[in-house]
């Protein structure tokens, strides 16, 4: 359905109607007829429309000109410049002697195209089948009217057919009403617009449904595939000024590709616009071959997130200072007790230090998170020996997990280009998770596979496994897989999120394969030489 453009009908009770409106008038007197038609054509002429009036014996060409002149003083100019044409029915319907539907329809289409070529906005016409005087012609004309109804849709055409009430029998009135969108008739002294109750109900229902996007305080915009705005509710006109004119070039719609949305499915994104943030749902609508964008203002939420992230950043930084002291004193005391021979006390301090290290790990995670969120996580890329780093990292984890055996199956990877410490962080994360989530089992297998372009590292455990619906979620912030049984999960649920961000920054892929009850394999793939952006 193309965007509907509304035109002024010139008739008060009709108001504005879109191109493609085909309606009728039942008249009794000449005055009835000319009153309506003159106002109709006046509006058309004043709005740059090409106007064609086919007259009848009831109201001839001369009558028409006279009544037009009364209301439109410049009518001669319009006629001279070719914006208005008045034909007697003999030169139109009955050209070539008889009425022929196909021919007349073609004449209208030609006039329509002629009007557009001349630079007019469209074609506004009126015709009067007063000349009909037998049933066959009536039936033919009725089919012709039905055909107009069927084909008028895509044309920039307004058609007003005028019928003499006195000439029409009851059956004929029904024919007319069936073939037009609505009818005009003067009743009890007033011009009335008649439409069926069905139509009224349908229109009310449409108006009711239309009020939903219309009254929505959130911007709702609909664009076609080329990116023109088909619909923009009042909220979008207010909050995205200029959206109708700029269409897909407007900053609110920047980056939206209707063609790809058609193929890819609904898209959700958050975009900044001025000093506000919007969450957008971008959805392809097949029935209309268009894309709808629903917007929600999330400025408050974003501000809160930023505040929270700043707070976390400051807090983590501040926490490091006392923790630095505690750790150092713990190590000093442990050394003192050890040197004195008090092994028991030294061991206790060793346990204390392990706990302090856990706190340090959590603080580091929090800090990393805020850096990821605020885009401040820095990476130090260099060439380094991959296997050497793996050995270091796995030995560190092995030392603090005596119950598990970390089995290594390493391919002969030489140097890779990346951030040694951050990749080490990911491997440590995989190993500690594997151990944490397989408390009853004793094996963890770390394996690497390399080819000339990339290296894949996987850590496999034989523990609880992860149910299918949760497998994608494990990489989300704060997500922790529930353990069955006694122990509640430790940690903040940040490790995998941070790991996935690190791998992303290495242009790599991260993932998990798992079977509930049988264990999980966490893996990442990174290119040997990532392209730094």
């Amino acid at each position: 359905m193309i965007k509907k453009e509304f035109r002024d009908s010139g008739i008060d009770i009709v108001g504005k109607v879109p191109w493609g409106t085909h309606f009728c008038q039942f008249y009794r007197t000449q005055k009835d007829l000319s009153d309506v038609l003159v106002r109709y054509f006046k509006a058309g002429l004043e709005n740059n429309e090409f106007c064609v009036w086919v007259t009848s014996e009831f109201l001839t060409r001369e009558d028409a000109l006279k009544s037009l002149k009364k209301v439109i003083p410049r009518i001669e100019q319009y006629l001279k410049k070719g914006q208005m044409e008045i034909f007697p029915y003999t030169d139109w319907y009955l050209k070539q002697g008889k009425f022929e539907m196909k021919r007349v329809l073609k004449m209208w289409v030609n006039k329509h195209n002629e009007g557009l070529k001349k630079g007019f906005a469209g074609l506004r016409v009126s015709g009067n089948p007063f000349w009909i005087d037998n049933k066959k012609d009536w039936d033919d004309f009725a089919s012709y009217e039905a055909e107009i109804n069927r084909v008028i849709g895509p044309y920039k055409l307004l058609v007003l057919c005028t019928y003499s009430l006195e000439k029409c029998s009851a059956d004929e009135v029904i024919d007319v009403v069936t073939n037009h969108q609505f009818a005009l008739i003067r009743r009890r002294g007033k011009l009335e617009l008649i439409k069926s109750a069905e139509q009224k109900k349908a229109e009310e229902e449409i108006a009711h449904l239309a009020s939903f996007p219309e009254l929505n305080i959130n911007p709702i915009v609909e664009i076609n595939i080329p990116g023109e705005v088909m619909y923009a509710n009042p909220a979008s006109k207010k909050l995205f000024p200029g959206i109708k004119e700029e269409g897909i070039k407007h900053t609110a719609l920047l980056g939206i590709n209707p063609g790809s949305t058609k193929k890819s499915g609904p898209l959700i994104r958050e975009i900044p616009l001025g000093d506000k943030w919007y969450r957008q749902a971008i959805i392809y609508v097949p029935e209309a071959d268009s894309v709808r964008i629903y917007n929600n203002d999330i400025t408050d939420r974003k501000k809160l997130e930023q505040l929270k992230d700043e707070f976390l950043g400051v807090a983590s930084h501040e926490l490091k200072t006392p923790v630095t002291s505690i750790k150092a004193y713990t190590q000093i005391l442990r050394k003192i007790f050890y040197d004195k021979g008090d092994i028991r006390s030294a061991e206790m301090l060793g346990k204390m230090e392990a706990q302090v290290n856990r706190i340090i790990g959590l603080i580091a995670d929090l800090l990393d998170i805020t850096k990821i969120q605020t885009g401040k996580m820095q990476f130090n890329y260099k060439y380094f020996d991959f296997n050497e780093m793996i050995d270091e990292v796995s030995e560190d984890v092995q030392r603090i997990s005596p119950q598990h055996e970390i089995i290594k199956e390493l391919a002969r990877t030489k140097t890779i280009y990346g951030d040694r410490e951050r990749l080490g962080q990911v491997i440590t994360n995989f190993l500690t998770n594997a151990i944490k989530y397989s408390p009853k089992n004793d094996r963890v297998i770390l394996k690497t596979v390399v080819d000339d372009k990339k290296v894949t590292l996987s850590v496999r455990d034989f523990g609880m496994g992860i149910p299918e619906e949760k497998r994608q979620k494990v990489f989300e912030r704060f997500y922790r897989v529930e353990t069955t049984g006694e122990r509640t999960p430790t940690g903040l649920g940040l490790g995998l999120y941070i790991s996935s961000e690190i791998i992303k920054r290495h242009q790599g892929k991260i993932g998990v394969k798992s079977n509930t009850g049988k264990g999980s394999t966490f893996y990442f793939v990174v290119p040997l030489k990532p392209v730094q952006k």
């Binding site: 930084h317 750790k327 150092a328 820095q378 130090n380 410490e421």
Partner: protein, 118 residues
């Protein structure tokens, strides 16, 4: 044999205390610079090594480090920068420091780095 002198440039008392405890335990003499007189104190005391925090309230450790490394009478003094964030290590490197230590640290790492330089 006179003990080697390590000067601590740090504005947090807790950290200063624990650094002093560790470093003295390993046989060094410790002096602490005043917050507002760092350059003068270094010049007057001429320690064998400086342990300097990157971020202090009154001054920027990196700037101070660069200054000392450019000054004729102090540029020979090795400097270990101490930082709370890994990300500052690169910029600390650019200011000419000889080594860095990330907080929180292992006392063995701290002592090892000092021993390597003096």
């Amino acid at each position: 044999m006179t003990k080697k002198k390590v000067m601590i440039i740090e504005d947090d008392e807790g950290i200063t205390d624990v650094l002093r405890t560790v470093i003295e335990m390993y046989g060094y003499e410790v002096v602490v610079a005043g917050d507002n007189s760092i350059i003068e104190d270094v010049q007057n005391s001429l320690p064998d090594l400086l342990l300097m925090d990157v971020w202090m309230k009154e001054c920027d450790g990196r700037k101070t480090c660069r200054h000392l490394k450019n000054q004729a009478d102090t540029k020979h003094i090795p400097i270990i920068m101490v930082s709370a964030t890994r990300d500052l290590i690169k910029s600390a490197r650019d200011s000419g420091a000889d080594d860095f230590l990330e907080k929180p640290f292992e006392i063995e790492d701290l002592v090892g780095k000092i021993q390597k330089l003096i």
